[in-house]
């Protein structure tokens, strides 16, 4: 044997970084464009545009008045600057605030009448829209509302849900068909003046889902909404409202994708949840908006206000989110724990890669007695990604016996990314018990070597370790979506870690 000078193996860390840069373009599979003729209103925002949207949706006067109040408030507000994100100023006059496929103008009565091109879009994305296929198959039944740009294309399983007394439709339809419920709850959790993006949304919101679960009903299937931005230069302003009456239960899921485009697009959504006495709402998000390319060109600005109101005693609201997409994420799904013994939960996996930036977390506002909250946040930063957890736990003097547990972990992949933690705790009751733990680590060389010495490739090892890191959150997702989320994470990590 000849004497040779060699290093036994190159440093895994540098290899991981190579993997990061190697597999880039293939990562975003939802980036295609659907070629449909759309009616898109001219760019720009004014009172006339607000009126036009309302007219286009044939809305009652009270809603137009509400929109106009929101718009006037928005004009007086400043865009928030406190988030740990950087982006070029948004020109709100360069965005079109309403865009709908022309074929949707005559409101197809059922999915059978919908333009096949639109249906094809969802098929490509793996969204099941055919009830028969689902009924025949082994997959669990999920009722789906699909929103394409500014309109809802259709909602499945409505009949079966109606039999149980559950209303599941687009918010536009709900305004016409159930105005008394919409009027009672719209803006009752997120008032139109709550923040800059909520005010903008209240003025120009287009479509989104409406769910109403009456007293004592356990929703017979998972409900889900799939949001798709397709048209260029448009923003999407979804508005979702879920009301769970006394002793009811619902599990709801949303997914989001958009085409790969060079310009940034704005998604400013508002989601309001209301849980009355003993009701439970489980809200899961798998967010995969187009993240932009590896140099940070393009991608969705995801500025979202999500808030749940545990209005009744013993009610429970649980947020689970897997955030892998968007160029910028600004999102804090929150719980107001008003009812005594109510429970709020927040489980989050957020991944930022390339030039993605996320400032996300939650607010738990303890108002009622013996209210409990749990926060589990797992942030993963790779490439030049910046990842921030921002959370608030506030215990008011009235919240006797409040409890919170927060676990906040960050995983860094590469030395160009950042992971940050900004947890606010404001405690005004001596009986409150809180624990907050945060850690920051990288994938250990030890762990990688251990896996490799058992025959597992480096890429698979990284993926395995990251999934293990996120496990606490994945187990909160409905089974089939947990699998989906794991795959999504693996795909997003393909560019990131292998």
């Amino acid at each position: 044997m000849a004497a040779t000078e060699q290093t036994t193996a190159p440093s895994p860390t540098s290899e991981v970084r190579d993997l990061v840069t190697r597999r880039v373009a293939q990562a975003y599979s939802a980036g295609f464009i659907t070629d449909v003729e759309s009616e898109t209103i001219p760019i720009g925002l004014s009172e006339d545009v607000v009126r036009l949207i309302s007219l286009r949706k044939n809305e009652p006067q009270w809603l137009l008045d509400w929109r106009l109040k929101a718009y006037r408030r928005w004009l007086k507000m400043d865009e928030p600057k406190w988030a740990h994100v950087n982006y070029e100023p948004i020109d709100y006059q360069s965005i079109s605030y309403f865009s709908a496929p022309k074929s949707m103008k005559d409101r197809p009565k059922s999915l059978d009448e919908v333009d096949p091109k639109l249906l094809e879009t969802y098929k490509k994305l793996g969204i099941p829209l055919r009830e028969q296929e689902m009924l025949a198959g082994v997959v669990p039944q999920v009722a789906v509302d699909v929103v394409f740009d500014s309109v809802s294309v259709g909602t499945t399983f409505r009949k079966k849900l109606a039999e149980a007394g559950v209303i599941f439709c687009s918010i536009s339809e709900a305004v016409h068909d159930h105005p008394e419920i919409v009027k009672k709850y719209l803006g009752s959790v997120v008032p139109f003046g709550d923040n800059y993006f909520a005010a903008l949304n209240s003025a120009v919101f287009s479509d989104g889902s409406f769910v109403f679960i009456p007293k004592g009903v356990r929703c017979p299937m998972e409900l889900s909404t799939y949001f798709r931005i397709n048209e260029r230069n448009t923003g999407q302003f979804e508005r979702t409202l879920i009301v769970a009456e006394e002793r009811s239960h619902v599990s709801y899921l949303e997914g989001c994708t958009a085409p790969q485009r060079d310009e940034n697009q704005l998604h400013a959504a508002v989601v309001e949840l209301v849980a009355l006495d003993d009701a439970e709402i489980k809200y899961s998000t798998v967010q995969n908006w187009y993240p932009g390319d590896e140099n940070g060109k393009g991608g969705i600005y995801n500025f979202v206000t999500k808030r749940g109101d545990c209005r009744g005693p013993r009610s429970k609201i649980s947020w689970t989110q897997v955030e892998t997409g968007s160029a910028i994420t600004w999102k804090y799904p929150s719980c107001i724990l008003r009812g005594d013994d109510s429970v709020g939960e927040f489980y989050s996996v957020a991944l930022t890669h390339h030039r993605q930036q996320a400032d996300t977390g939650t607010k738990m506002i303890h108002v009622g007695r013996n209210t409990r909250s749990t926060i589990v946040s797992k942030g993963i930063a790779a490439g030049h990604g910046q990842q921030s957890y921002r959370g608030l736990v506030r215990v008011l003097p009235s919240a006797h016996g409040a409890r919170n547990h927060t676990q906040c972990d960050s995983l860094l992949i590469g030395d160009q990314c950042g992971a940050h933690t900004f947890p606010y705790t404001e405690i005004r009751n001596p009986t409150a018990i809180l624990e907050h733990e945060a850690t920051t680590s990288k994938i250990g060389d030890d762990q990688l070597f251990y896996c490799r010495s058992r025959g597992i490739s480096e890429e698979d090892a990284v993926s395995m370790i990251v999934n293990g890191f996120c496990k606490q959150v994945f187990k909160e997702l409905p089974m089939e979506f947990a699998v989906e989320a794991q795959k999504l994470l693996a795909v997003s990590l393909e560019g990131a870690v292998g």
Binding site: T421, F422, I427, T431, A432, H436
Partner: protein, 362 residues
């Protein structure tokens, strides 16, 4: 800011020799910037409007103060630079060890400067004036390679005193800053500690305790900037709030790009002892390097329930047992003070301060 006109007038009452260009420059910075308001993230919980009318009468400013202002100086820095009298100017030569405790104190606004040469060692106590209507104290510390500074800051001021204390330290290679801080009194007490771990191997250890009572307001803001590899920071803070008092703790750790092998740990534990008391805590991490070990933890309201049960099973009434455990909770960071003199002093003052209240509680 019209409310700062008191300061403009007070400046004109200074002796002519004190109205230097540098001070005048600082004054105009103050008038231009104003004092921070609660709209500013770092002052979210601390309202300075009560000091607007507490301008110095101008008589007690002595000597020439260094009025240097950094580009990022805020209104508090400017106020101090305009009105501060001379403070401690300590320069410990390379290699020398000062055994005695050096005291930085004085009345009115003060500005101190401490520099330890290569390998030097010293012990420093930073005092505030216990009955000051309003005092700002700025201390700048520079540690050259291998220097070690052990420091105690003990604030046991009267119920009407207001203090803003700002300690900034730049840590050279393989230096150690060991700092213990205790805040027990005051109507308004704000302490900013900014430590720049500028060179490899720097270490900072902070042990802190605050006990906010009456309608007092105690705010501790710490920021550790890890700018070089192999830095270590340790921070253990305990907070208590009773009566209608308010406590604030904000601890920020920033690991800058390239500061690999940073090892940072921050532990914050709080007890609220009255329904009207309040504590706001925010332990922050900002991390831009991957090969680091950073952890923080914050808790509220947890006396050791097993210990409580144990004490009660030995016959102590619950209130006594709680008081005892509360005292133990407060003492925990102080017991770890490595310098025996500082440890004795801190424990003695805190015992005296809390002792009476323990009887009240039981």
């Amino acid at each position: 800011m019209s409310s700062l006109e008191h300061y403009a007038r007070a400046f004109e009452r200074l002796p002519a020799s004190a109205r230097t260009d540098a001070r005048r420059g600082a004054l105009s910075r103050l008038l231009e910037l104003g004092l921070p308001t609660t709209a500013h993230e770092d002052w979210k919980y601390t309202d300075l409007s009560s000091v607007h009318e507490l301008a110095p009468d101008g008589g007690d400013i002595d000597g020439e103060a260094p009025a240097r202002l950094d580009a990022d100086a805020d209104g508090v820095d400017a106020l101090n630079a305009a009105f501060a009298g001379g403070g401690l100017q300590l320069d410990v030569p390379a290699g020398s060890h000062r055994a005695e405790i050096i005291v930085a104190g004085g009345n009115g606004h003060r500005r101190h400067h401490v520099r330890l040469g290569r390998g030097a060692q010293a012990r420093l106590r930073l005092d505030v004036q216990p009955h000051a209507a309003f005092q700002t104290v700025v201390l700048d510390i520079e540690l050259d390679a291998g220097a070690q500074l052990t420091m105690l800051r003990l604030q046991d001021a009267g119920a009407d005193a207001r203090h803003l204390t700002r300690v900034r330290a730049r840590l050279g290679r393989d230096t150690t800053l060991d700092l213990s801080t205790v805040d027990l009194g005051g109507r308004l007490s704000r302490h900013d500690l900014v430590v720049d771990l500028a060179e490899p191997g720097a270490q900072v250890h902070l042990r802190g305790l605050f006990v906010a009572s009456g309608d007092g307001h105690i705010d501790n803001h710490t920021r550790f900037d890890h700018r070089a590899p192999h830095g270590t920071s340790r921070e253990t803070v305990r907070g208590l709030a009773r009566d209608a008092a308010r406590g604030v703790f904000n601890g920020k750790i920033v690991v800058h790009p390239g500061a690999q092998k940073t090892d940072s740990e921050q532990r914050v534990a709080n007890l609220i002892l009255s329904p009207k008391a309040e504590i706001n805590a925010k332990p922050e991490l900002e991390i831009y390097a991957d090969d680091v070990k950073c952890a923080h933890g914050a808790t509220f309201g947890q006396l050791d329930l097993t210990a409580l049960f144990y004490l009660r099973s030995r016959g102590l009434p619950e209130a006594d047992a709680r008081a005892l455990l509360t005292l133990a909770f407060a003492m925990e960071p102080l017991r770890a003070i490595p310098d025996a003199d500082f440890r004795r002093e801190a424990i003695g003052r805190v015992s005296a301060h809390l002792g009476a209240s323990i009887e009240e509680m039981s």
